[in-house]
């Protein structure tokens, strides 16, 4: 076995006492833990009778996060249906927009969680919501970076612009501070004023920085010219325009000129009179020490990275990123010993090591949602080499299967998982077959939905098994018609035979049929099993009799016996049914038919006359049988006589 990547976490089961041994069993997505009977020496007291369920993933039970799962499912299904035949450069904007969709869904969830976290009165829940919010924030951060680096795959020049956007999106407190400052009576005197200006410059928002500076400039007319100089420098900073005609080299040249100008200003000590402006100038030059002095404003090492790139190397190429990333991280985090998981994930992203990103995220998060969807999107962008894992499927499929299996443990979200399995070409079907049988079927409507899923995918085994479950349930509640209709749907001949037997037994016992309308309208389903056909035909006989179409009824009855559709045990009942037909004034059975009836009767009585083993048959029963047979014989002979006479008569 390979070594583990991280130390496994330990979870304490609060209700189990120390010193006791635990037994466990795997469930679906959870573990059941119980106390064993094993008594260690010194252990006293009675055992705890409870079974504890330990679940790793709580998120799927959170009502707000459920929206995330549902909406992202919708996006996922839409992504799978993008046509494969378009060349990839046409598809890139589509993929980018899908990525943005995913991100907006994450943000919406985050905002809602934030609101609930603030408004809830329960302190524990508030903490939990807060944790979820921070996890979602991290997820969105990582996703955004992956979108910039991998999906959008911006080349040098626009790469920096995208990274700037990325940082701006995730550092919202600048705007809040700016708002505070601007709303105060004298913005230029506010204590956070210079912080805001520096933050704007660090994020490359130079226009806003100039506006802020303008306020200060009006206050101190004496220092007007240096403010004007700074304004000039800020306004002249070149930004690369990807849609424009300027090439990257031209932009680089222009930028160097500007950089030299700023350097000259600094060397000339132009800003010596105002230390804030001097600091700004140093930042514009990209001086690392000055940047590091503003660690609290930067907040994170990646902000530091982007700012440094902005002012030192705006034409950075994607392949060069990781040098800068590594060095920035070490410079920024020199006080702390080990980087946090988020930092190492981001670093792996800057190094363009997609697999490492996915691996680290899988370890850090307790839910496969993020890695599954991100990997799927990257796979569609053809960015993942087909990295075959040693159990056959590729990475994307593995993650999707894990995620969907996790969904299946949820009482309600299992329906989403079906679509995920559908799009895992190698193992998805097998997983689905195994899982779909375990969905609890409380109502008929749910069973119908599950059946529809199975039938659409031609999973006939599962269809049969589900229908059998429903049919058994109906049978247990004595709803024979319902049971029969389930077995017809499953095309289960054996079960249909069983239920038809029950119907017939019911008839023998009660003298009437239950569920007439079902039997009447079986249609071609009647042919499913012999017994069922007999049931249908027998019911038809009754109908014909009721409509007084005696001749047809008689023919049907006879055919039931001669064609051997009827079970031998039922023949007595059939013959008894023939009695009233024989007793009619009008001759219904022809002579030939009567001969056949007699033949059947003889067959029946000869089998009855064989020494029967059940000698406990009471005398009365035997008497009744004998009387019946005698009556039949009498009726048959009389009918025969009349039939012969009738057929022999010549009509004049």
């Amino acid at each position: 076995m390979e070594e583990v990547d991280v130390e496994p976490t330990i979870t304490n089961i609060p209700a189990l006492r120390r010193g006791k041994h635990m037994g466990f069993a795997w469930g679906q997505g959870n573990i059941f833990v119980y106390e064993t009977l094993f008594k260690a020496t010194g252990a006293t007291g009675s055992g705890s009778p409870f079974i504890h369920e330990v679940r790793k993933d709580e998120d799927i039970y959170s009502p707000i996060l459920r929206k995330l799962f549902n909406e992202s499912h919708h996006i996922f299904v839409g992504l799978q249906t993008i046509r494969e035949d378009l060349p990839s450069k046409n598809k890139k904007p589509q993929f980018v927009s899908i990525s943005k969709n995913y991100r907006s869904v994450i943000r919406a969830c985050m905002e809602e969680l934030q609101q609930v976290a603030v408004s809830t009165k329960n302190a524990e829940m508030s903490v939990q919501y807060g944790n979820q919010v921070s996890i979602l924030l991290a997820i969105e951060l990582i996703w955004n970076l992956c979108e910039v680096l991998f999906i959008d795959a911006a080349p040098a020049g626009s790469l920096l612009l995208h990274l700037l956007d990325w940082v701006r999106l995730h550092k919202a407190d600048v705007d809040e501070k700016a708002r505070d400052v601007l709303q105060s009576d004298s913005p230029a005197e506010h204590r956070d004023y210079w912080d805001v200006v520096v933050s704007y410059v660090l994020q490359g928002r130079l226009d806003e920085a100039r506006q802020m500076l303008g306020k200060k400039a009006t206050l101190t007319p004496a220092a007007n010219n240096i403010f004007k100089m700074m304004d000039n420098l800020l306004s002249k900073m070149p930004f690369y325009n990807p849609g424009g005609t300027q090439t990257l080299t031209e932009f680089d040249v222009k930028w160097r000129h500007w950089h030299e100008e700023v350097d000259r200003c600094l060397q000339d000590n132009s800003f010596a009179s105002n230390q804030h402006l001097e600091v700004l100038c140093k930042i514009l030059l990209g001086d690392e020490d000055t940047l590091l002095e503003h660690k609290d404003l930067l907040g994170t090492w990646y902000h530091f990275l982007v700012s440094r790139l902005l002012f030192c190397h705006p034409t950075v190429k994607p392949t060069e990123l990781h040098y800068y990333a590594q060095s920035c991280m070490t410079m920024f985090l020199d006080s702390r010993s080990a980087p946090e998981p988020l930092d190492s994930i981001l670093l792996a992203a800057f190094e363009f090591d997609i697999h490492q990103v996915i691996k680290d995220c899988s370890i850090a998060l307790n839910n496969w949602w993020f890695v599954a969807h991100l990997t799927d999107l990257l796979d569609h962008c053809k960015l993942l080499q087909s990295h075959n894992l040693h159990f056959g499927s590729n990475l994307r499929e593995f993650l999707l299967l894990e995620y969907a299996s996790g969904l299946f443990t949820h009482h309600s979200l299992w329906q989403l998982a079906v679509d995920y399995f559908d799009h895992c070409l190698e193992f998805g079907r097998v997983y689905l077959e195994l899982q779909i049988e375990r969905v609890p079927l409380d109502t008929e409507r749910k069973a119908l939905k599950v059946l529809r899923i199975c039938e659409q995918r031609q999973m006939s085994e599962q269809v049969r098994s589900i229908c059998k479950i429903m049919a058994m349930r109906a049978l247990r509640n004595n709803r024979l018609g319902s049971a029969l209709s389930w077995s017809i749907r499953a095309k289960d001949a054996a079960f249909a035979t069983l239920i038809s037997e029950r119907f017939l037994q019911d008839y023998c016992a009660k003298g009437t049929f239950s569920d007439l309308d079902l039997i009447d309208n079986l249609g071609p389903a009647m042919l499913l099993s012999d017994r069922l056909t007999f049931l249908g035909k027998y019911r038809e006989f009754h109908k014909l009799y009721g409509e007084k179409r005696f001749k047809e009824a008689a023919k049907l009855l006879l055919s039931l016996m001669t064609a051997k559709i009827a079970p031998r045990s039922f023949w007595m009942t059939l013959l008894t049914d023939a009695l009233p037909l024989l007793e009619q004034k009008e001759v219904i059975f022809s002579a030939d038919q009567t001969y056949e009836l007699m033949f059947c009767l003889e067959e029946l009585t000869s089998s009855l006359n064989t020494p029967s083993s059940d000698s406990d048959k009471s005398m009365q029963e035997e008497d009744v049988e004998l009387t019946k047979v005698e009556l039949l014989r009498l009726a048959l002979s009389r009918n025969l006589a009349m039939a012969i006479v009738k057929e022999g008569t010549v009509e004049t």
């Binding site: 459920r66 929206k67 008929e444 939905k449 529809r452 509640n477 319902s482 309308d517 079902l518 079986l522």
Partner: protein, 369 residues
């Protein structure tokens, strides 16, 4: 289609119903109720899409449904109907029937009445599959095969009708005096419960697929539309039973609900397991009989089964024109893209609400009727 928004609500919706508005005030409905299913804790909730004057509510999109209140519900909500503007009745998968009262002032729901075992087997719970109300009477049917009549103010069941052995369909309201109930499974019989014993009004030989939903034309009581397991929309003329007047391939999976528009019955709505909601529109309105109008392109395959018996084709019942050559039906998809199964829909005026298994509610306030 631009007017339809999805609202994700973290519960699979099995039924959505508009709260009835008084016909005197010609306003559009603003409040609707939903019932959930397949949750560990199911709920009945009330939502509003009106413009909110209350400052306490969050402002989302205009028309974004906001939840007003909810109440837990034991078992899946299999049917939900409004008795009047404040009371609604729910049918549960545990066999219980409950009357809820919504208090619009305090935005709370309370339970008025609860019949716990309205439907049951001897040893099990039987889900109560459907109900219909005609205040103050409530008629429910369940999987145990019985029809039970309740009165809103009385404790016990007023009447239990028959031991019908087939699975039951939603019963349908005919008028305030008599309630007619239509049964499902391979045949259909209409039972008139005026007397104590149901009388058989004749059976229909039909298609063999089980039916899931039925709706009666609001003005012409003899026209009935049904939808079933095979997704076919059938229009029947009750007077001439036997075969449906027209059969249309509507959906590729079970059809869960079919609804005539209550005030504009040339429009019909169906929703299905395959995730689509269709709006059917017939071409009549004018004095001309529909067979004289120019044929409109019909996006639907209509197998004309029968031409109506009798010489004159009634002018306004365009539903009964079964001939595909005349092309009198137009269909539009109402939802933007294939979603998961649409379980329920309701329409009043121009407002349509539907709920799906993707845990989303769609509201369209500008349905072209």
């Amino acid at each position: 289609m631009e007017n339809i928004n999805a609202k994700y609500v973290s519960q699979k919706i099995s039924k959505t119903r508009w709260c009835p508005v008084s016909y005197s005030s010609l306003q559009q409905p603003e409040v609707f109720a939903t019932g959930s299913w397949d949750n560990e804790d199911n709920k009945v909730s009330i939502w509003s899409i009106g413009n909110h004057n209350n400052s306490g509510l969050e402002d989302g999109f205009e028309g974004d449904p906001q939840i007003l209140c909810e109440h837990k519900h034991g078992g899946d909500v299999l049917d939900l109907q409004f008795l009047d503007q404040e009371r609604m009745v729910s049918a549960s998968s545990t066999g219980a029937v409950t009357i809820f009262r919504y208090h619009p002032n305090t935005h709370t729901i309370s339970v008025l009445q609860h019949w716990a075992r309205a439907h049951s087997y001897p040893c099990d719970n039987a889900p109560c599959t459907a109900l219909v109300c005609s205040s103050p009477e409530i008629v429910t049917v369940g999987e145990d095969g019985r029809i039970v009549v309740f009165r809103a103010d009385q404790e016990g069941a007023v009447r239990v009708i028959g031991e019908m052995r087939t699975r039951m369909l939603p019963p349908h309201k005919e008028s305030s005096l008599k309630l007619s109930v239509v049964f499902v499974r391979e045949c259909r019989q209409q039972h008139n419960s005026r007397g104590d014993l149901p009388k058989d009004h004749g059976g229909f030989d039909g298609d063999r697929a089980p039916l899931h939903c039925v709706d009666r034309h609001p003005n012409q009581q003899h026209i009935v539309a049904t939808g079933g397991q095979d997704g076919m929309l059938c229009v029947w003329d009750v007077r001439q039973g036997g075969t449906p007047i027209s059969l249309m391939e509507a959906h590729s999976a079970e059809m869960w609900e079919v609804r005539f528009h209550p005030t504009n019955p040339d429009h019909l709505f169906t929703c299905s397991e395959d995730g689509s909601l269709l709006h059917w529109e017939t071409a009549s309105h004018s004095e001309m009989p529909s067979f004289l109008q120019g044929g409109r392109n019909s996006s639907v395959i209509s197998h004309g089964a029968l031409t109506p018996a009798g010489g004159n084709r009634p002018l306004s019942s365009a539903w009964l024109c079964g001939d595909s050559g005349k092309g009198c039906l137009e269909t539009t998809h109402m939802l933007p893209s294939q979603t998961m199964s649409v379980n329920s829909l309701d329409i009043i005026g121009q407002c349509l609400v539907c709920g799906t298994d993707g845990e989303a509610i769609f509201v369209n306030r500008h349905v072209p009727v």
